[in-house]
Symmetry: C2
DNA sequence: TAGATATTTAGACAAATGTCTAAATATTTT
DNA sequence: AAAATATTTAGACATTTGTCTAAATATCTA
């Protein structure tokens, strides 16, 4: 729960999720979409992965990232319970 | 949007919202529910207010805080759009 | 009006966060 | 095997964050 809210609390990470919603992307492709260094993107991806929001698969020298939105159900439930 | 995610990214602030869901509370009552100082709670309330998640009303020497969950719709929509 | 109570503001400080460059690791290509 | 490419790891550094104590402000009560 904590790691989820933490992962969502950054505009770059939220944008990464939006891009991954369109299609899977390699780390390099993601880095090219932003104006920050590759290591910084790598770190953001690590935080997203730790929260379960993305998964990664190594394909040769590339690493492809995919979004996983099921973990967001927990956040949805939390918010809905608060509103109820 | 940013201030909303930021406000939610702290366990104490999330707990404050849960308490306020039950009933309105004064700043002092809220502070008594936690093991941190009153100024710290005051600061958390400020962040929640800045995000529009709570409102406050001065009643004599007391300040009563109320939850406002409508702003969470924006977060809900953002998450649902991501899942869609 | 003086003292007590409720809350915030100010300022200090340690820990967490986001960024960078340089280097390491792994894979592919020539 | 050497060079090129893709990505991460390591470590440094500035900024942000959450906490504290002390002091300020406002209201109530004796």
């Amino acid at each position: 729960m904590n790691s989820l809210f933490k992962a969502l609390n950054d505009p770059i990470r939220r944008d990464i999720l939006k891009y991954l919603r369109e299609r899977d992307l390699t780390a390099g492709e993601i880095a090219d979409l932003f104006d920050i260094s590759k290591p910084s993107i790598s770190h953001h991806l690590d935080i997203l992965r730790h929260a379960g929001l993305v998964s990664s698969e190594k394909q040769g020298q590339f690493i492809t990232y995919s979004i996983n939105t099921t973990v967001l159900d927990e956040v949805l439930e939390w918010i809905i319970a608060l509103k109820r």
